[in-house]
Subunit: 237 residues, 6 copies
Amino acid sequence: MRPSGRTTGQIRPVTITRQFTAHAEGSVLIEFGETKVICTASVEEGVPRFLKGEGKGWITAEYGMLPRSTHTRMRREASAGKQSGRTQEISRLIARALRAAVDLKALGENTITIDCDVIQADGGTRTASITGACVALVDALNYMRAKDIIQTNPLKHMIAAISVGIYKGEPVADLDYPEDSAAETDMNVVMTDTGKLIEVQGTAEEEPFSFDEMQQMMTMAKHAINELFDAQKAALN
Amino acid sequence: MRPSGRTTGQIRPVTITRQFTAHAEGSVLIEFGETKVICTASVEEGVPRFLKGEGKGWITAEYGMLPRSTHTRMRREASAGKQSGRTQEISRLIARALRAAVDLKALGENTITIDCDVIQADGGTRTASITGACVALVDALNYMRAKDIIQTNPLKHMIAAISVGIYKGEPVADLDYPEDSAAETDMNVVMTDTGKLIEVQGTAEEEPFSFDEMQQMMTMAKHAINELFDAQKAALN
Amino acid sequence: MRPSGRTTGQIRPVTITRQFTAHAEGSVLIEFGETKVICTASVEEGVPRFLKGEGKGWITAEYGMLPRSTHTRMRREASAGKQSGRTQEISRLIARALRAAVDLKALGENTITIDCDVIQADGGTRTASITGACVALVDALNYMRAKDIIQTNPLKHMIAAISVGIYKGEPVADLDYPEDSAAETDMNVVMTDTGKLIEVQGTAEEEPFSFDEMQQMMTMAKHAINELFDAQKAALN
Amino acid sequence: MRPSGRTTGQIRPVTITRQFTAHAEGSVLIEFGETKVICTASVEEGVPRFLKGEGKGWITAEYGMLPRSTHTRMRREASAGKQSGRTQEISRLIARALRAAVDLKALGENTITIDCDVIQADGGTRTASITGACVALVDALNYMRAKDIIQTNPLKHMIAAISVGIYKGEPVADLDYPEDSAAETDMNVVMTDTGKLIEVQGTAEEEPFSFDEMQQMMTMAKHAINELFDAQKAALN
Amino acid sequence: MRPSGRTTGQIRPVTITRQFTAHAEGSVLIEFGETKVICTASVEEGVPRFLKGEGKGWITAEYGMLPRSTHTRMRREASAGKQSGRTQEISRLIARALRAAVDLKALGENTITIDCDVIQADGGTRTASITGACVALVDALNYMRAKDIIQTNPLKHMIAAISVGIYKGEPVADLDYPEDSAAETDMNVVMTDTGKLIEVQGTAEEEPFSFDEMQQMMTMAKHAINELFDAQKAALN
Amino acid sequence: MRPSGRTTGQIRPVTITRQFTAHAEGSVLIEFGETKVICTASVEEGVPRFLKGEGKGWITAEYGMLPRSTHTRMRREASAGKQSGRTQEISRLIARALRAAVDLKALGENTITIDCDVIQADGGTRTASITGACVALVDALNYMRAKDIIQTNPLKHMIAAISVGIYKGEPVADLDYPEDSAAETDMNVVMTDTGKLIEVQGTAEEEPFSFDEMQQMMTMAKHAINELFDAQKAALN
C-alpha cells in the first residue's frame, strides 16, 4: 500500500555518520532513507542575556534547508531576508526537545547551538534533525567533559523523534515525501529512551482524526522510536 | 490546589460577545476568565496566488498581542520590524484549525482573514483565539450567504480549543497564567463538535510525560471543549 | 449639512473608561463616537541611552491600528515588517504632546510608554489617542506616587486634542470618517487646559486655506477642546 | 539678539541654482545661508497602482541627509536598513505640499518624483527643500510641455516654505541650527504665492505658546515667504 | 615553507563528486583539500523581468556558508535577516563568471540558478565554488538538451578558478586557511580552458604588491587552473 | 574612436575641491569629467568592537548614489530598506584601499569613516571615490594632528584609482558611461604613489581577455594614475 513498499510500521533505513565535518564539537550526518540532514553542535562560553548569572546553561537550535534540497528550488531564506514561519517553528521544536534532554544546571554557563541543515529532503526532516542532533549533542558534551568545561554529564536521557500519520486511512510510520504530501493526518512524536514523551504534535491535514486513531499512531511511534534509539546507540559505540 | 480555586477539570467562565466592532464581517470578543481576545473575520474577494484558478477559497490568520496585554510591556512587533517565532507559530495554528472546519471548495475564490488580537492575557490566548475565531467565522459565512457571495454553507463543523496540562503532578484544564508558567506539561487540543481531533500539541516544559498522563489530559480536554461548544452555540442563538 | 446631523462646532459624544485592561499602570478606553482607542501607560525604570545620567525621565508613544479597525482590512504592520510613515508620524506626535504636559525632571529616571491601539476607526484617531492617553498618564503618575517612585506630581497641565477642518466650505469640529475623507482642509490642535497651544497641524487636502479660515478653525478648536477637558475631569473624579 | 545678528524677521541669504546636476528633468541647489539642499524632479511615465486608470498624475517625494551633512556624522539610513520617522515625516510633507501646487488631472498619467538631499545642514532643511523643489518642479513641467508629454501647464501657483519660532521669547523667522535647537516653539509654514496656506505645523518644544504668539508667527511667516517667492521668480527668469 | 608542506605552486587534492544530491539538475560536491562545497544548478523556465522578451536566458548564483563550516560558528544569515557584503560579493562573482562561460542566446528564455553552499571551509571557498559550479552547470545543460529544452550546447568553454597570493614574501597557489589569513596579498583568478581571463581580483591585505609580483602570481594561477581543468574533465567522463 | 574624442590613454579633466562642505574633518568634491562625488572623512573616537583594546585605529567607508545621479532615477536604497550588492562591494573596496594607505597603529584607537556620495554619475564613480577620499583623508589626518589627537602622520603613501578597459578591441583609460556600458572588459586599478598595487579587479563583461591585454591595461593604468597623483598634490598645496 505504501509507495515505497514498506509495511505500515516500518521505518526507512537510518544511517548516522559522526564527525561528518571537521570544525564542530559535534557533527553528524543523519539519513532517514533519502532525507539527509547535517546536524552540528557548537559549544560557546556564556549564555543569552536573560539567563546571565543564573548558573545554568542553554541550548538553542536553528534549522535550514539548502535551496535545492527539495524537488523544486526554494528561495534562499538569507536572501529573502527572513525565515519562514515553518523554519522558525521547527527551530523552536528542535531546541525545546534537546533542552528537555539535558540538565541545564550541569551545563554551567555555556551555550550549545544546534544547527540542522537539510541537504536533501524526502519527508521527516524535523524528526531526522532531532534524532541526529541528539547524537551531535552527546559528542559536544563529551568534548566539554574532555576539556574540563563541565565535570558531570548533563545528559538526562537520549531523545529521538519520528513522524507517524494516517495515509489512505491507515496509520503509518516515518512518512516519506509522497506519503507526507497526501496524508490525512500528520503527527510528530519526540520521546525519551526512558519511554516518556517530550513533544506530540498531531495535525489533521484533510480529515479530523479520532481519539482511537491517535492511540494507534502513538503506539506505532513508540515502536519506531525504539529502533531509532538502537541506531543512535550503535553510532555512539 | 489550583491558584484560582478551580477543580482540576473546571474551565474559567467563558463570555462571547458578537459584533464587538463595527466594520468586520465577523467580530467577536471572547473572554476565558481574564484572557480577552478580539477575533475578527474579514471577507475579501480573490485568493492568494498559489490557489488562483483552482476554484476554491482560503482562510488565513494573524495573531497579535497588544504591547501591554501582559504583566510587563512587550515590545511592539510592528516597531521591532518582525513577528516572533511564537506569534507566527500561533498564527499558523489558528489558520490551520479554521481551514479544517470549512469546505474550501464551497467558499468559492474568496479569502477570509482571521485576526486575533489579545487585549489582555492570562494564559490560554491561543485556545481562546481559536474558539472565538470560529464564532466570527460563522458570522462572516452568514454575511457571505446573505450577500449571495456563496450559495451553500461551507462550515463542516464547529471547532473549539482548550489547553490542558500537568500542574503540580495533576492534570488540569484551561490553565491560567500562574499555572501555565509553572506547569510541567502543556497541551493544546483543537476538536470538532463531532468529537474528532484537529490538532494536538503537547510539550514537556520541565518533565517528560507518560503515555498515561497524555491519555488523562486528552480525556479532560474532551470534556472541557464540550463546554466551549455550548458557549459558542449560546452566543450564536 | 454634516452627514451626522451635528452642528458645525459640535463634537461627538465622548466616553472615557478607566482601568479598561488589568495590567497597565494606566489603561483607558476612549470613544469619540464610533472611534475607539485603547490607551495604556506603562511605567518602566530607566531611560533611553541618550538621557542616561541626566536625572530626568522620558515619555514615548506608539500608535497602532488593529487590521480590521477600518472599513476594509489593512495589512498588519507587524507582518509587513515595518510601520507606515503615517503610523510613525502619529506616534511621534502623541509622544511630543504628552512630554509637553510633564516636568520630565520631576519624573526621575523613569520612562512612561504610551500605547494607543485603535480598535475601531471613524476619523479623529490621533486626537482621541492624545486625549485618552493623557488620562492614562495621570493614572500612571498616581501609581508612581502611591508606590513612592516619585515624590511630587510631574503633571504641569492636562492636554487634549481635537480635529477641525473645512468641510463643504464651512469650518467644522471633530470630523468623522465621511467628513475627514472629503474635507478641503484638516487641522489637528493640541491644547493645554491653561489655554495654550502644544501643537497645531493644518493641511490643505484639496484647496489652500486662508489666514481667516485658519483663525476660525482655531477658535472652534478651542471651544471643542474645552469640552474634552470636562470629559477628562469627569472621568478622573 | 539672534546668534547670527539678524533682525527678528530677517531671513538668511537665499541662493537658487538651476540645472545643478545634468540628468534630472529639474535639478536645483537651494541654499538658505549654510543650509544646502539638492532638489531634483524626475519625470516617469505611469502612476502608482492605486491611481491606475483614473486619468490623473502623481507627485511623490523623498528626503535624505548625507551622513556628514550634520555636525556629527549620522548613521546612513540605507545602511541602517530603514528611514527614521523624521525622514518619512518630512518626505510626506514635501510631497503633500507639492501636490497642492499642481492640477494632477492636467499632469496626465505621469509621476514626478522629488528628491531632496541635504548636503549641508544648518536648520530649516525641510522648508528649503520645499522652496527649492518647487523650482525643480517648474523645470520638470516645462520639460514635459517641451516634449509634448502634457499640453497645458498643471501648475496652479508657486509654493514656498519658511520656519518661524519663538526664540528667547521673541518670534523670529528662518531659524538656523543654533536657534532651532534652543527655540521654545518651532513652526513650519507652507504658502502659495496667492497668499493662501498649504500647511502649518507648529510645535511647542519647551513651553506651550499662546494664540497671540501663533498670530505673530503667522504674520512673520507671510512676509518671509514673500521674499522666497521673489527669489524663486528671479531664478526662473 | 607552507604550513601544509606543499611546494609554492602545488594545489591541494581536488575531488569532484557528481550527482551528490538527488533533486537538482546538476549537483556536485567539490573538495579542495579540506574545503568542501555543494554546488547545485537548478533549471527554471522563464527569465527575470529585465530580460523578458529578449530571447535569451540568464544565470544567477547564490553563495552561502553553513554556520559551523568555520572554526567558530558564524551567525546564520537567514536568521540575521541579511546577507553580508562578502556573501553578496561572492554570489555576484560566481554568477558573472558562469555567465561568461555560456552563450545566453542559446539558452533560450530559461534561468539557471547556481547555489554554492560551503559545508566545510579551509580557504579558497569562492574558487572551489566556481570550479565545482561549472561542472554542475554542464550537467544541467546536458539535462536541458536531453529534455529538448534547448537544441544546441550553450557552453562556450569550461571555466575554473584558483586563488594565488604572496605568503611570507613568496607567490603560492591555492591558499588554505592558515595561509589565507596571513597572506600579504590575495588574488583570485578565473580562466577559460582556452587560456583567457574572465576575472582577476587582487588585493593587498598588508603590503602593496609590485607589478612584478602580479606577473608571477598570474603565471602560477595559469598552471594551477590547468590542473583544475583536468580534474573537471576527469569528473565529466 | 572614443565617443568623447579622447585618445586611448587620455583621462578626463580632474577637479578636486577641498572643504566642499562645512562640518566634516575632510570634505572633497572630486570631478572626473561629468562624474561628481562628494567624499567626506569623519573622525570619531573609539573603534569597532572587534578592535577594542588592540591599540590601533580603523577606517571604514560607505558609498551611495543620489537617486537621480543617473540617467534614469534609481530607487533610493534607504527607502528600499537595503543596500544593493554593488553598493556594498564598492564600499568594501574603498575602505580596503584606504586602510592600505594608513598605518593603523599610528592612528590610535580612532575611527575614520569615509562617505562617498555620487551626485552625478558618468562612469568611474568608484575610482573617483577612492581618489577623492584619499584627499579627504589627508585633511582629516591633518585635523587630528592639529588637535593633538595623533602625534605622527599615519599616512604611508597617497593612493589613487583609475578604470581601464577594452573598448572596441582597444585598451582605453578612464571610461565614461557610454564606453563603460559597451566595454568588453573593465578593470579597476588602485595604486600607491610609490608605484605599487593595492587592488586590481578585472572583469570580462562580454569576451574573455588575454594575458597580453591585461598587461597593456595595467601599463595604461599606471600612467593614468600618475596624473591623478599630480592632481591630488596640486589640490593639497
